[in-house]
């Protein structure tokens, strides 16, 4: 039915199956939008946030999707600026996944603010000292960069490509992509960093606060580095999921191997920095503010226990780094996938802890720990972009030549 739009030389599932999947996703998206509309019309009382938990599930979701969406900028940087040519085989997919992640972040932010209709004040009345201002500017500009990067891929659709203007536009944009990619990488470094700065600068919150250099706390650099390290893992993971669902190989193993190796080293170096940062924070920064490091972890061992730190650093940090750095680890498909999963969990967990624990933890001695569980509206609006993202990826995969190696790897009779 829609075969005219499907790229030449590849096979896709039947329109019926595809529509069914889309229907399910659309239902989820509608559910999410219903929750979002409730939040917009009735206000944020629809959430389970409170005056202690002003930042909660949504902000975590923002930080997490942007971290794992970091694959787009880092792969772009490697491909266009550093010139690792093999990565052209996965860059399209990385861009699409990144685009979805950033759209998600923007959407969630639009729901998360108490006065969405005044959201543009962040640009208009910008306070340059605020990390959030930096986030907003870089985020929106980088989203436009991603859109610019996505356009040529869109234009490669068989039908669109038939239009000479679009064909030429795709061609020209492709030529200029290095400039955009470089700009994107620059922006991304800053906004990944500024997201790290969001909690790092909170000198009233000893759990999140980090010392640093000039105006940037150490978390600024840690966030950029971890996004660059773990973002590609998410790209590879989603790529592998796509392979699994479509039932065919889409990217050659040498591409995975290269990106995996780079990720491995990135995670490895990130872990060195993260461990150093954690030790400095635990033994220098915190005690100077009157907190023994175990004060943070002993009060609520279940929700905020030391296990999270061990999970984040050892199991979801050191372990995947070791797997990805070692040739044997990369060669083993199961271990490789496991490593990408762990790395993604690790970076999400890091963002989780940095958002949740400072909110839950009392700073005044006579204050108490606060617990929080998201409302269904928060959950729905967080799942909404996930479903939306899957839709965009599915549509792109179906109608656009995303994977240059697909034809070669899956010859159609």
């Amino acid at each position: 039915m829609d075969s005219a739009f499907i790229p030449k030389g590849v096979k896709r599932c039947s329109f019926g199956t595809f529509s069914l999947g889309m229907l399910v996703l659309t239902a989820i998206v509608f559910w999410g939008f219903y929750a979002a509309i409730l939040c917009w019309l009735k206000g944020l009382n629809q959430t389970n946030m409170n005056d202690s938990y002003g930042f909660a599930l949504w902000i975590w979701a923002d930080l997490a999707v942007i971290a794992i969406g970091g694959g787009a900028f880092f792969t772009g940087l490697l491909r266009y600026v550093i010139g690792l040519d093999e990565l052209k085989n996965i860059i399209n997919f990385a861009v699409i996944v990144g685009f979805c992640c950033y759209c998600s972040a923007m959407l969630i932010l639009a729901i998360d603010i108490g006065q969405p209709l005044r959201g543009w004040f962040i640009f208009w009345h910008a306070n340059v000292h605020s990390m959030l201002t930096e986030v907003a500017f870089c985020l929106s500009l980088y989203l436009s960069v991603l859109a610019i990067e996505y356009i040529p891929i869109l234009l490669e659709n068989r039908k669109i490509d038939e239009v000479p203007f679009f064909h030429n536009l795709g061609h020209t944009m492709h030529g200029a992509m290095a400039v955009f990619a470089a700009t994107g990488a620059f922006l991304s470094c800053f906004h990944q960093g500024s997201l790290g700065g969001v909690t790092g600068v909170l000198f009233g919150r000893p759990f999140g606060y980090r010392e640093g250099i000039f105006v940037w706390p150490w978390t600024f650099f840690l966030y950029t580095w971890s996004a660059a390290a773990c973002g590609p893992c998410f790209t590879m993971l989603t790529c592998k999921i796509t392979e699994k669902i479509s039932g065919k190989k889409l990217v050659k193993d040498n591409v995975y191997d290269l990106l995996g190796k780079i990720s491995g080293w990135m995670i490895g170096t990130y872990m060195v920095a993260k461990i150093a940062d954690t030790l400095y924070w635990a033994y220098v920064t915190s005690p100077s503010l009157g907190f023994a490091v175990m004060d943070y972890y002993n009060a609520h061992p279940l929700h905020h226990g030391i296990w999270i730190l061990i999970l984040e650093i050892v199991i979801c940090g050191v372990l995947p780094a070791m797997i990805l750095i070692s040739r044997k680890g990369r060669a083993n498909a199961t271990l490789f996938t496991l490593a990408t999963i762990l790395a993604v969990i690790g970076v999400c967990l890091n963002r989780w802890v940095m958002v949740m624990t400072p909110m839950a933890m009392p700073v005044m001695t006579f204050d108490s720990w606060v617990s929080y569980f998201p409302s269904w509206q928060e959950v729905a609006t967080t799942i909404l972009p996930l479903a939306g993202g899957i839709m965009i990826v599915s549509l792109s995969f179906r109608y656009l030549p995303v994977f240059p190696q697909e034809q070669e790897l899956n010859p159609v009779d």
């Binding site: 006065q115 209709l117 005044r118 543009w120 004040f121 239009v163």
Partner: protein, 736 residues
């Protein structure tokens, strides 16, 4: 030009891109942001000139002067009056939130007649003329049936012109059954009668400003006892001049926390401790010999009785306080050069206390000669400014008629009113001996202990008229509500009975026009009296209430109207010679050990004791709390709609409870689901329950929140005074 699909698409994109470069989207976003700043449902207060008007607060017996900040004809704020002798600019939380009472949703906005079953909350409004005609009909019927004493009236106090107008109307009508809301002042007045031997009513006064040692037997000095703002100011002054305050109590109340020492006696042994201290003082010859020698009677007998029964060893055993601590405390209290003062009346003093305890504490003050001396306890002469309250013909009208509560009878000669005895009196007779009840400025259906019985008794009264401005629990039980103006809308004299060391009369003034279809209760009484005519009508020669007030206040009126209060700045209590009445004109020590009733409930079934926890943030009187004051109630007292019980962690664990978890609290009177808060500051074996919550009336900001203390606790009658001296009840608590 032919528009095909392609150029249409291009045109569309072009138009969209073009619009982005026009000011239109910016203008629209700007409009949106402005709209969010002017949401029609977010009010914009009307501006105008701000000015202050003065008045007096009547929300508690404290009598604070207030300054009312107004914009045009709206009250926007109530502040303390800096020049007022009681509060000197300070003000309590309830006082500040007065505008919420004025404009709030709980007001009765017109006369209303019950149209459903009692307590069902179905009402129809009627005109004032009809309402008054209905009451008159009923009164005339009582008169015709020769059952005039079947009319009763409950007021918050008998002081001031409005209660006196009610009382006068009742008396002239032929009913002696004028009753008042019980309080510790009932006990103090009985003590003054017994020990000072004065027939006339005296006000108890405390010269806190000149004291440097305060021994408080469970009084919530900074929690609403006496005149609350004055007490808090006095407390601060004590801190500044390093005066000492010792608290005798079973839990770490705010007063205890602020004190210099907490003596946690076993509950119910306060009188024993007082007499134990007296014993030490007498044995060590630390007492004021001038006073006991020349100005008292019965001292040797008293001394004999105390030394025999209350030596420190016995008292240490009884109270659980170590012997040496008792001796030290006694020495400190009696030490020369210290201006000491012992006070009693538990918590806010909203209940009476046992005669045994009050007399023991008063004896302590007497022993150290702190009666009518600087820094001591004073009997303050009443500013007798209502000449018509004592007219002989009014008394004659009820001569020989018996009060239903037996106050003033040979059984309870020292009590003026025993409202607490009314419910049982009604319940024990087949037909209610009261056929018609007026309730003004009182809410007995909530404030009296044993709510179920009170409501049952009210249910037996054929006709109840409530004069309440708010839809409170008693109004809920009424047949007719004749809403009074609230204090910000009316004139009224407020003679302060808050333990002040001098007489103060305040004037409540109408700082705003009446907001609703209400009428001053004084005017209603005048209308009723005139409607009855005859002897009653003649007894009310005034045009209206204001006329009555002005004429009554006579010379003081101008001053009151201008400054808001009248006081005797230089007031000094009568010296010992001349202060006391009785046969010898002397202070009378008593050597009788008065009986004390046992705490209700069996120890086996109810191993713990439930006591009230009183606080400045919760009004436990007839005035309901406002949205603002409810907001200040901590979550260790109220969580959602569930009351939170305070219990010592040790006891809590023994009872199988967990901090913050649900439990069921049971007393012989009833049970309620609560949450538990573990708190070290309460004696093991006890539980404390915030008093003043659990309203079944008022609106959504108050109704159904928490549980009512009075519903779980029954009255405990003092065998001597007949007053309800309940201070707790046996209880148990179990996990759910």
């Amino acid at each position: 030009m032919k528009i095909d699909r392609r150029s249409f698409l291009a045109l569309g994109i072009g138009a969209a891109a073009g619009t982005a470069f026009t000011p239109l989207p910016w203008k629209l976003t700007d409009d949106l942001s402005i709209w969010t700043q002017n949401w029609p449902w977010t009010p914009v207060p009307e501006d105008g000139d701000a000015y202050y008007d003065h008045s007096v607060c009547t929300l508690c017996p404290g009598g604070c002067g207030i300054l009312v900040r107004k914009i045009n004809d709206r009250i926007v704020k109530i502040e303390g009056m800096p020049s007022h002798p009681v509060n000197r600019g300070g003000i309590c939380a309830l006082g500040i939130s007065g505008p919420q009472l004025l404009y709030g949703p709980d007001r009765v906005i017109a006369p209303m007649k019950r149209s459903g079953a009692r307590g069902e909350g179905k009402w129809t409004t009627l005109s004032w003329d009809d309402a008054i005609a209905e009451v008159l009909d009923r009164l005339k019927k009582l008169e015709a049936d020769n059952k005039t004493e079947h009319l009763a009236c409950i007021c918050d106090t008998d002081r001031g012109t409005v209660p006196q107008l009610f009382k006068r109307m009742l008396s002239l009508f032929g009913s002696p059954n004028f009753m008042t809301t019980p309080s510790m002042y009932d006990s103090y007045e009985a003590v003054l009668k017994k020990m000072h031997g004065r027939k006339d009513t005296l006000d108890i006064g405390f010269d806190f400003e000149n004291t440097d040692f305060i021994l408080s037997f469970g009084s919530g000095v900074i929690e609403g006892w006496g005149s609350p703002v004055r007490m808090i100011m006095a407390n601060s002054a004590w801190k500044t001049k390093k005066a000492k305050q010792i608290q005798i109590e079973q839990r770490l109340s705010n007063t205890a926390a602020s004190s210099n020492g907490l003596f946690a006696v076993k509950p119910g042994t306060e009188a024993d401790l007082a007499l134990g201290l007296a014993c030490v003082i007498m044995e060590e010859e630390l007492y004021d010999k001038a006073f006991t020698g020349a100005y008292s009677t019965g001292f040797p007998e008293f001394r004999n009785m105390v030394t025999k029964n209350y030596n420190p060893d016995v008292v240490a055993e009884k109270t659980g306080i170590e012997r040496h601590l008792i001796i030290e405390l006694a020495r400190h209290f009696a030490s020369a050069g210290t201006s000491s003062l012992a006070i009693c009346g538990r918590g806010k003093g909203q209940t009476a206390g046992s005669m045994m305890e009050f007399m023991a504490v008063h004896s302590l003050n007497a022993l150290v000669g702190k009666i009518n001396t600087p820094g001591g306890v004073w009997s303050v002469e009443h500013p007798d400014y209502i000449p018509w309250a004592k007219e002989m013909n009014v008394r004659a009208a009820i001569a020989g008629k018996k009060r239903i509560d037996e106050a003033g009878s040979p059984v309870y000669p020292d009590s003026l009113s025993l409202l607490n005895r009314l419910p049982s009196k009604i319940l024990e007779s087949k037909e209610s001996p009261i056929e018609m009840l007026f309730v003004s400025n009182a809410n007995p259906a909530y404030t009296l202990a044993g709510t179920d019985k009170v409501i049952e008794a009210l249910g037996k009264i054929p006709f109840i008229v409530s004069f309440s401005s708010y839809m409170d629990e008693t109004a809920d039980q009424a047949d007719l509500i004749l809403p009074n103006h609230i204090y910000l809308e009316r004139y009224q004299d407020v003679p302060v009975r808050g333990g002040l060391a001098r007489p103060v009369i305040g004037l409540t003034r109408p700082v705003v026009e009446p907001q609703y279809d209400t009428m001053h209760s004084g005017d209603v009484v005048l209308k009723l009296a005139k409607g009855l005519g005859g002897q009653v009508g003649e007894g009310f020669p005034w045009d209206d209430y204001k006329d009555c007030l002005e004429k009554t206040m006579a010379d003081r009126w101008k001053e009151l109207e201008e400054t808001g209060f009248w006081t005797d700045e230089a007031y000094q209590p009568k010296p010992w010679a001349g202060a006391f009445g009785g046969t010898y004109g002397k202070f009378a020590f008593s050597d009788t050990i008065l009986p004390l009733p046992d705490l209700e409930g069996d120890v086996k079934d109810y191993p713990l004791i439930l006591i009230p926890k009183e606080s400045m943030r919760i009004s436990s009187s007839h005035i309901g709390d406002t949205p603002f004051t409810v907001k200040t109630v901590p979550d260790t007292e109220l969580k959602g709609k569930t009351l939170v019980i305070e219990i010592n962690p040790r006891t809590g664990k023994e009872q199988g409870l967990a901090d913050g978890k649900d439990a069921v609290l049971k007393t012989p009177l009833g049970q309620v689901r609560v949450k538990v808060s573990f708190f070290e500051g309460i004696m093991p074996g006890l539980m404390a329950m915030p008093k003043g919550l659990g309203h079944t009336a008022y609106g959504k900001y108050l109704k159904g929140k928490g549980a009512s203390y009075n519903a779980l606790v029954g009255p405990m009658e003092d065998p001597v005074s007949g007053q309800d001296i309940s201070w707790g009840i046996r209880a148990r608590i179990s996990r759910v």
